[in-house]
Subunit: 219 residues, 2 copies
Amino acid sequence: MNSERKISSAVINRLPRYYRYLGDLLESDITRISSKELSTKMNITASQIRQDLNNFGGFGQQGYGYNVEYLYNEIKKILGLDRVYNLIVVGGGNIGQALVNYTNFEKRGFVITAVFDVNPRLIGMTIRGVEVYDVDKMEDFVKNNKVDVAILTLPRSQASKVANDLAAWGVKGMWNFSHVDLAMPEDVIVENVHLTDSLMTLLYKINEVETEEGQTPNS
Amino acid sequence: MNSERKISSAVINRLPRYYRYLGDLLESDITRISSKELSTKMNITASQIRQDLNNFGGFGQQGYGYNVEYLYNEIKKILGLDRVYNLIVVGGGNIGQALVNYTNFEKRGFVITAVFDVNPRLIGMTIRGVEVYDVDKMEDFVKNNKVDVAILTLPRSQASKVANDLAAWGVKGMWNFSHVDLAMPEDVIVENVHLTDSLMTLLYKINEVETEEGQTPNS
DNA sequence: TAGATTGTTAATCGATTAACAATC
DNA sequence: TAGATTGTTAATCGATTAACAATC
């Protein structure tokens, strides 16, 4: 609640996973869970769970564990999921369109309000009710509508310039699917989704396993 | 080259980024680079670069630095990118289709050979030349064609069962876009792309910055 | 009350950074 | 040769795990 010390990225990255598991428990009508039980389900240590949660407060009770619904809602608040966010998609290609069509986002309160592209064949179209505008309308749009996050799904060559513009116009969050690293002012947050990199690490690990097996017959 | 000790995930996750920067340098006709220069470009320490690379061998030369083209090709080999991989997409929805349409994959040697879905309206269709089959044809396909990686872009409810089947049929790599954690045998590698989780951590950080600013006027 | 389980401090482990001798 | 920069060892830092007193 009070920002006593900075929470490490490692912890933050685990929060959505806790949130998901607690949501599942809630759906299974489980009302309480101990860090021990949750640790078994999630394949992490109970110690880590308790340490992680205690960064944000004491949500449990000795001898009892955690109330699932209460903890779920607390994590929801911590993640800031108790309100709606407005997002725009910049780059109406494959991935941009797929994200607009992903209906689960809306259910969670992530609302895509506009798509921007340079392609005249896309401009004026509507994707699941969301209009595609010419990028030259973007400045106006961003300045006249609350935009929490820009989803960058445009070619590498254009991403940096566009991100700089958006940051200058006040957008504080960049969800970056473009295959470049963005240099942003420190009050602008960038979260990268580098799909190609992700696939490459998978391939590395597949080959690593194959090599190991070749060398030491029984793992 | 020889698997003396296990390389940590932290290192592996950085390899694609090195590869990308070296590729960019190569395109700019830069022939040599020191760890110092590269560290400035990449915003990491020179020490980390040298440590990372030395997990795989000594690719540099004292007093000179690293030959860009040589290092680029070495990392390419380390990542296993010197050959072609066959992938299948399981779940022909938005994201599945977007990945099939993403032409950059093919250029890198990631070839999508088939899409599987349950939806009769998709089955028989062709996406950029790739046929969509009924999932009940999947076992045959996997057993008769080399499939390096299955891209899982199906609903949460079905993902675990399908992944288990695929693993049983010999698929060693799962690129998992479904919002569940998969429990696989240890010779099967899972790389998760949990888009919702990624967006949630972004939102957390945006709110964190706003709070800080509210409390301490000048950062 | 006794048992269970938290919150938290201390110990361990691993990853990053610094330092420097080796050497191109 | 002198200067530069690596490869590698040692020091530091941070994150994870273990332990246990507090307490429901």
